[in-house]
Structure formats: C-alpha cells, structure tokens
C-alpha cells in the first residue's frame, strides 16, 4: 500500500514538473482518518499530500466535464469507465486528460465499517493491515476483516480491464467476499413499488446523488430545478422524490457505469445503486451495450441508427 502511494505521488510530481498537466486530481487526507477527500494538486510540491487507501471513495471523474485545463485524474478500476463514457459523449477532450489508473485493493463501505466497529467520528487512525481494517479509537485498536466491510461492488470488480494512460500496479491483492442482496429473489413490481415508496420517503432532495454523479454534468441547468415549467415539483414527498429519481435514472440510462457514487453520497442511505442496476440491466439486455467500454460509441438511448429502423427496434 505504501509503495503504491509513493509511486502515485512520484507520477503526479513528474506530470506537474514536466507541465504535462496543470492539475492532478486525486485524494487527500479526510477530516477523519477513516475518510479521504478529493484533492486538486496544482503544485509539484503538494504531490506528497496525495493519499491512497481503502477509504478513497469518490469517483473523481465527476470533476472532468467542468475542467478547462489539462488534468490528470486518478481512477480506481470502478471509476475508469466513467472517464471512457465521458469521452464517448464528447464531454471531455481526450487530449486534455491523463488517466492514472490504480489497481486498488478494494474500498471500505463506511456504513458496514460503522456497523462493525461503531462510530468513526473519534477515530485517531484507520488503515489496512494485511487483510484487516484497523480503526483506532481512544488508543484502542478495533480490527475487522476487510472482506466483511468492503463495498459490494468490490467483490464483483474485475481489475483486468481498467483503462488508463498510466497504470500503477504494485501487486495489491483485491478483497474478496460475497455481496448480500436486500432484494428477495421473488421481488415483483408490487414489492418494488412499496420498497421505493418507503426509501424515497426519506429523500430530502439535497441532490447529493446528482452532484456525485459523473454522468450528471448538467449542473445548474438540471431539468428538476429549471425555473420554467417542469415535470417534477420541488415538494418534499415520496411521490415527487420518486419522480425525481426516476427522471434521473432515465437521464443516465445507458450512460451510468454503476460506479455507486450516488448511493455513497446519499446522506439518508437510499440504495440508489439498485435503481441504476435495474435500468442498467435493461440497457444491457436491449442494446447489448456496456457503459464505459468503448470511447467511440455514443450512449444507445441517444443514437438514431437506420439499422434499428430496419430491424424494428
């Protein structure tokens, strides 16, 4: 892990010194040892502030569409697809972006970790020790197997296909474990309706899911807060929230890499990943299309192809 971080800092320093980029987007220390925050390094001297550990959650691709400079971005394998998807949509200029791809050991799911070790607010240290996550609170070290507290998506992660200009591979072993689904096998439309009605009742319309999403680059022009007549109301209730999330799910259909950023950003813990997985499954089935795989293919829902007309799609 230390070697990986050292190499990462080295690469960042090199890119900035050679003026290949004007900024390197990575992670720095968070407000607490069990967190990491996005960090923009513009000075080679600051490269040492970059960190990489299992607490680096954010999908940094989210910053790329609004950047107007040559930038390097550090991506975990799960985020790399977002960069590819943004290139495919023409939202980032391939020449202006250097992708530093990191082979990562996996990322901690803070909710699972808190469930296992209690509140992280007073943690004095948190780190990965072999296959164990260690959190020190009040001088006492609490240990929990990484496999128990990693993000579900880490268990399914296939690091082989990560896309990057620079690949940092320091032989880390990926966490393995089993994802536990909260969706029963026989979930039908009634189950889903009740499930989302319950979940969206908590939604406070903070739009953190949207802000964390690399595909949601409309920013202030987002349809749900337009000043003219719009399809969704701003009222705080489960129905309007459902409308908002359904609209967002449709807007990112065929563009969402299911990176999980929205779900991690949600302050009230709505499992948005389930919604995007359902839409993603439909897209894969209908169009045989994997988001973030090809940089030269527009999203399937916004293409108009004569072949589709002929095949009756």
């Amino acid at each position: 892990m230390e070697k990986l971080e050292a190499e990462l800092r080295e690469k960042a320093k090199e890119l900035l010194e050679k003026e290949e980029v004007t900024t390197v987007i990575g992670w720095g220390a968070g407000w607490n040892p069990a967190k990491a925050s996005p960090l923009f390094v513009r000075d080679a001297q600051d490269a040492d502030k970059l960190v990489f550990n299992p607490f680096c959650q954010n999908n940094l691709a989210v910053y790329l569409p609004r950047l107007n400079e040559k930038a390097a971005v550090i991506t975990k394998p799960c985020d790399a697809g977002s960069v590819v998807a943004l290139i495919a949509e023409g939202k980032i200029d391939r020449e202006n972006v250097k992708v530093i791809s990191i082979k990562c050991p996996g990322t901690v799911n803070p909710a699972k970790l808190e469930a296992a070790v209690g509140s992280l607010d007073d943690a004095t240290a948190a780190y990965l020790d072999g296959d164990t996550i260690v959190v020190e609170v009040g001088g006492k070290a609490k240990r929990v197997p990484f496999a128990q507290v990693a993000l579900d998506s880490c268990y399914l992660c296939n690091q082989e296909n990560a896309f990057g200009d620079i690949v940092i591979d320091e032989g880390v072993t990926k966490v393995s474990g089993e994802a536990i689904s909260i969706v029963p096998e026989d979930a039908d439309s009634v189950w889903w309706r009740d499930f989302w009605a319950k979940e969206f009742d908590r939604c406070i319309r903070c739009y953190a899911c949207r802000e964390a999403c690399p595909a949601c680059y409309c920013r202030d022009n987002c349809a749900v807060q337009a000043l003219r007549e719009r399809w969704t109301g701003a009222k705080l209730d489960a129905k309007e929230a459902l409308m908002f999330h359904a609209q967002r799910a449709m807007h990112v259909a065929g563009r969402c890499t299911e990176c999980g950023s929205c779900e991690r950003a949600c302050p009230v813990g709505i499992p948005l990943g389930l919604l995007h997985k359902q839409v993603g499954d439909a897209v894969r089935k209908l169009f045989d299309f994997n988001v973030g795989e090809k940089a030269d293919m527009r999203p399937p829902l916004e293409t108009f192809r004569k072949e589709e007309l002929e095949s009756g799609h």
Binding site: N68, G90, C218, N221, C222, A223, R228, L301, F304, E310
Partner: protein
C-alpha cells in the same frame, strides 16, 4: 394573462350531432383566461370566419382556440383568419372535436365531456403560445432525378425543358429501365424501343441534363431548395470521354458468352466488358469488376516473389489491347460527387415478383415455365432467340401456350395482396403476340378477374379473345409438372365449376410488380417512408399523389405503386410540374414550428446532434461555451431533439414543455 377566445364549430351535424356544442361553449367561458366563447354552424365558411374576425376585434382577443375538425384539415385556414384579424397566425390552437370526439364516441354525454376536456387543454396550451415568424430560404434551382427509366426520363426532360438544370442518376450502365426491356406496349402494340429510344437520346443530348450512369445516391442532407447529395459514380474502367462506342472490346472479351445478362433477364449472356443492349445510352461499355479476369487477378506490385523468379502477370487484358484509343483504364476508382439540388425526384421503378416462391409452378426449375419478362425478351428481335417463340427446353415452337395471371399479385399467401395492375394487360398483349407469330398455336389464359380499366384496355382484351382467339379460362392453376416432354396443368374452371387438366408446351407466368429490393434503403437515405410492401409512400393518395413527406422530394412511376406506362408518364409530368412550381420561387418561407436550443440551458452533451434524423443540429462555440444550434431551415419539427434533451434546452416552437404541461394541467384542474 392572455385573453383567449373560444369558437366551437358544429361542422353541420358532424360535431353538433354528438357533442352538445352550446354547453361546451357556455362552460368554456369559465375557463381561466377565456374572455369570449361562442359556437357556430361552419367556422370554416366565409361567414364563420367573419364571425371569428369580428369577435377578435371587438373582444380584444389575443389568442384563439377553435374546436373543430382535425388541424390537418383547417389549421392553415384559421391561421389566415386570425392573421386577418391582426393576430400572429400561430396564436391559435385547434381542439379536434370531430376526428377525436364526435366521430369516435358513441355516447353524447361522454362526447360532450371529452370535447370540453380538449377545449380546456387547448386553452392551457395556447395561453403559452408565442408569436412565431417564418424564416426564409433560397432555392437552388437544380433537380436531381434518381432513376433513368421512362419515369425519370419524362420527368428529367420536362424539368429540363422548363429551363432548369437536371442531373439524372442511373444505377445501371444505361438508361431505359424496364420499358427498354419490353417488346411491344399495350394497347397500341407500339414497339417499345421505338418510342423510348428517341427520348433516351434526348436525355443524353439535352443541354440542361447531365447524365450519371452506373451511379448511385449515397447520402442526402439538407432541406427543400437546398439538398446536399453525395453520388457514388462507380468505376466503369472505361474512359467515357475517349470511348467512341465501337464495341470492339465487347466483341473480344473472352467471357462474352459466360455471364448472364441482367437486361435479358439472364436468358442471354454478356461479357465482363459489356453494354447491356444495342440501343444503350450512353453507348459506353463498362467492366464488371466481379467477373473481369484482369481485375480479379492479383496486382503484381503487391506480390512478393523470391529473387530470380518472375512475377506473375495480370490475366487477360484483351479489351485494353484491342482498344486503339486507350479508353480502358483498369486503375479507375469509384468517384464521390457532391452536388447541391433544390428538388429530388424519385423514379426508381419496380421489380418483378420472383416465381421461385411458387413451388406449385416448379419454383423456377421447369425450363418451359417462364415469366412475362422472359417472354418480352424472347419475342424481341434483338433478344436471346432473335424474336422466335420457342420452348427453352428444346428450342421447338410450342403448339400450346398457357398464360397464368396473378403470380405474385392478389395472393395473400405469398404476401402480396395487392393487384399489380399491369399483368392483365401485358398477358393480353403477349397472347396476341403468340397468335401473331405462331398462328397455329393454341393460347389459354388462366385469370382470376380481368382488370382492364384504361383507355382502350377492355377493347384490347376483347381483341385478344375475339380477333386473336385466345381462350380465357377463369380459374387458378394449382399445379404444373412435366410429363412426357409436356407440361401438365391442374386447374379449376370456376365458371363451369369443374376441375381441369391440360397439357401445354410452354407456360408464361404473369409475375406481379413489387418494390425494388433497395427501395427501403433509398427511402432511409433520403429520410422518407415506404409502405408495407416497400413502395414509396406519398403524402396523400388523392390530393398529393406525387409528393412524399419530405418537402422538396417527389416520386413518380412504379416506385410509388404498380402502374403502367401511361400512368407513369403522367405522374412524371406531374412531378415536373411540382418541381416547376417549387423553382418558380426565389425564396421559400420555412415553417416556424421547428426546434430551437436555448444556448444558456444547453450543456453541450450532443444528444440532439446525434438523434436528429435530418442532421439539422450542429455544435457551436461562442466565447468558450459550447452549445447546440438548430438549422431552422433543415429542421422538420419532429421533436426528437426535444425528447432527447435532458436539461430541456431543445424545445419545439409551438409545442414547448410549458405548453404541454399547461394543457395537461388544464385538463386535470379546471
């Protein structure tokens, strides 16, 4: 707040018979924003329009809702009406109370309720209407004619004679099309080539017509008055500017007896270098790269051989050696030509049904069962048998000839329920030709009905029967098989109500006319539609029979539906007249109800650029901000961009999100 005037039309009893128009009108006055409401017998009449104009002026109405027939019918009428009253013509919304209500609703109460809902929605929508002004576009006064058959020839000549430039694109090496393949034409028995070839020559020599044979339309962009068309001029491997048409090369091609000639329906051979027929225009041969030995043999420059070894030479090359002028150019490449046109004419013609689908008639495997087109070539003096009617199996004269009509037409089981219109007549003609050339032969015609609607057509069929003694038998042939050197036909005579078995020497199938196999692809290239059978769809079968849904594009002849030569020539003339009308304008008004993109809302995702079927949207940049921009002249107002736009920057004028939401709201609330 707008002041909306509501006018409910009775349409005689068309609407008033089912909808309580007085109640709708009375209730409408209570809709927020409505300042005036009335009902009248015929709003579209002059008197009715005057009522509307006066009411607008007296009541200071600034937006109008008319509850009447479909906007397709009278939207333009009423736009002009309110314009006369001093309003912008687009401050109008039609509630369709006829097609959407009275004609389709049984119960009077629910009809009245629905009518009121539609009026409410229209009021809601019109209250967000904004004044619109049409744009102006210039007209490029040049026409593209696709297809060089009789339809294309006639259209091209008529347009060219009006003084406009025409480019004719023909896929085959020669113009002439289907008509050039025919021997005689009904009902006058004119020699087809004799009446066609002068027109073909006229096309070639006309100063306003440029002929591009062996060429295909590859891409069409743009809009009425300003189409940008890419044409692929396929390599002929013969330099047209040098070739004199001596055809020395054609006679020396070693493959000249090897390749079936498409023009002869495959019944006579051609070489790899060939002209399809003697009267071809232009009379310049082409080399078929699928067969030419030189072109198929590997290029010696690309072959690597061991030192000392000789490189293999190209095969053949006889034509190049024989051409004294050096017109053969094996290095010729396909050429892409980009041209601008104001109008496009589709005259791509038809194909004939492939009787392989008729297993009961031998599926094309019985040599003496031939098609009408095979017969046309056979009976033609320059055809494969030099005009002799013989049995393909043994070259003998047939003593008994049977014709079967409706092969691949009026046959739902074979997927063609429509009547091909030409087969009854060409069968009668061919029956006459058989009796003329072989007076001793017996002729039988198996028919379902005789459809001989046309000038002199019925008389012609009667001549075939009475003067030439063709025996017409009403009934379908169920099976044909070979036996002892003859054909046996099993049929039913439905007039006698008896089964029938007959021997014949030769059977001629009147195969029906179908759309060209590439018609759907062409329609997609141009951005228009076809019907279920692949024929080009017209805008209106009666009132706009040669217009297609893309403005500035017209179609004529058998590309639209099966038709004979007189109808084809007539529609070609009609198309020329329509093109003339279009070209009589220096400037066209474009429909203002098109899309536009608000650059302040646009996030430059490019989805609209991608989905636009008319390539009307491009990405622009201003002071570092990228945004999509609609070319309003190219936009057809389909609204696809608006549906694809996530932030709602792309809006269709006259159908904005605001207007649609407001009309939904109106139905639910008021």
């Amino acid at each position: 707040m707008s002041s909306v005037g509501v006018f409910i039309c009775h349409c005689g009893t068309n609407i008033a018979g089912k909808v309580d128009v007085a109640k709708v009108s009375d209730d409408a006055i209570n809709i927020p924003g409505v300042v005036y409401s009335s009902h009248q017998k015929y709003s579209c009449s002059e008197a009715g329009q005057k009522v509307i104009i006066d009411a607008i002026k007296e009541n200071r109405i600034d937006k109008v809702v008319i509850g009447s027939c479909s906007p397709k019918m009278h939207e333009n009428t009423f736009r002009k009406t309110i314009e006369q009253a001093g309003l912008n013509p687009y401050m109008l919304e039609i509630a369709n109370l006829r097609e959407h209500v009275s004609w389709v609703t049984a119960d009077k109460d629910s009809a009245t309720r629905k009518a009121f809902d539609l009026v409410k929605a229209a009021v809601g929508k019109v209250s967000f209407a904004k004044p619109l002004t049409p744009g102006q576009v210039t007209v490029e006064k040049r026409a593209l004619v696709i297809g060089g058959g009789i339809a294309g020839i006639q259209a091209a000549l008529d347009i060219a004679n009006m003084g406009y430039e025409v480019v004719m694109v023909e896929k085959e090496p020669s113009i002439g099309g289907r008509m050039a393949q025919l021997d005689k034409t009904f009902p006058t028995l004119d020699c087809s080539a004799c009446i066609l070839s002068p027109r073909m020559v006229d096309v070639a020599q006309h100063p306003n017509i440029r002929l591009l044979t062996y060429s295909e339309v590859e891409n069409v962009n743009g809009y009425v008055g300003n189409f940008n068309v890419t044409i692929r001029k396929k390599a002929k491997f013969v330099d047209e500017s040098i070739c004199t048409g001596c055809l020395e090369c054609v006679t020396k091609c070693p493959l000249k007896k090897k390749i079936p000639n498409e023009f002869e329906n495959g019944k006579a051979p051609r070489g790899a270098i060939y002209v399809p027929f003697a009267q071809a225009v232009p009379k310049v041969p082409v080399i078929d790269k699928e067969h030419c030995q030189w072109l198929l043999s590997p290029d010696p420059d690309t072959i690597e051989v061991a030192e000392g070894e000789k490189k293999p030479k190209r095969k053949c090359g006889v034509c190049a050696k024989k051409c004294e002028l050096g017109a053969i150019d094996f290095d010729m490449q396909d050429e892409l030509i980009n041209e601008k046109f104001g109008a496009i004419v589709i005259a791509t013609g038809f194909n004939l049904f492939d009787h392989k689908k008729y297993g009961e008639y031998g599926a094309g495997e019985i040599p003496d069962v031939i098609t009408g087109l095979d017969f046309e070539r056979m009976v033609n003096s320059s055809g494969p048998t030099e005009g002799k009617i013989v049995r393909p199996s043994n070259g003998e004269k047939p003593k008994k000839v049977a014709f079967i009509q409706c092969v691949g037409s009026r046959d739902e089981a074979k997927g063609i329920p429509y009547c091909s219109r030409i087969c009854c007549m060409y069968t009668a003609k061919q029956a006459i030709l058989v009796r003329e050339k072989l007076p001793d032969a017996e002729v039988y015609v198996f028919y379902m009905d005789i459809r001989a609607g046309g000038k002199g057509y019925e008389e012609f069929v009667l001549r075939a029967q009475r003067e030439y003694g063709a025996n017409y038998v009403r009934g379908r042939v169920s099976r044909i098989y070979e036996q002892d050197g003859h054909l046996v036909l099993k049929a039913a005579d439905t007039i006698l109500g008896m089964p029938l078995e007959m021997e014949a020497d030769m059977v001629i199938l009147a195969t029906g006319s179908i759309a060209r196999e590439d018609s759907v692809a062409l329609a997609n290239t141009i951005g228009i539609t076809t019907d279920a059978y692949g024929f080009i769809s017209e805008v209106h079968p009666k009132l706009k029979p040669v217009e297609v849904p893309r403005e500035g594009v017209f179609a004529c002849g058998a590309a639209l539906s099966p038709r004979d030569i007189p109808d084809t020539v007539a529609t070609a003339g009609a198309v020329a007249a329509k093109v003339g009308v279009l070209f009589s304008n220096d400037i066209l008004m474009s429909d203002p109800m098109v899309a536009n993109v608000d650059p302040m809302v646009c996030v430059a995702c490019g989805a609209c650029v991608e989905v636009c079927p008319y390539s009307a949207i491009t990405m622009e940049e201003f002071r570092g901000k990228k945004f999509a921009k609609v070319n309003e002249a190219m936009c057809q107002g389909c609204g696809t961009c608006s549906a694809a736009c996530r932030p709602g920057a792309a809006q269709l004028r006259g159908q904005t999100d605001e207007q649609i939401l407001k009309s939904i709201e109106a139905v639910l609330q008021w």
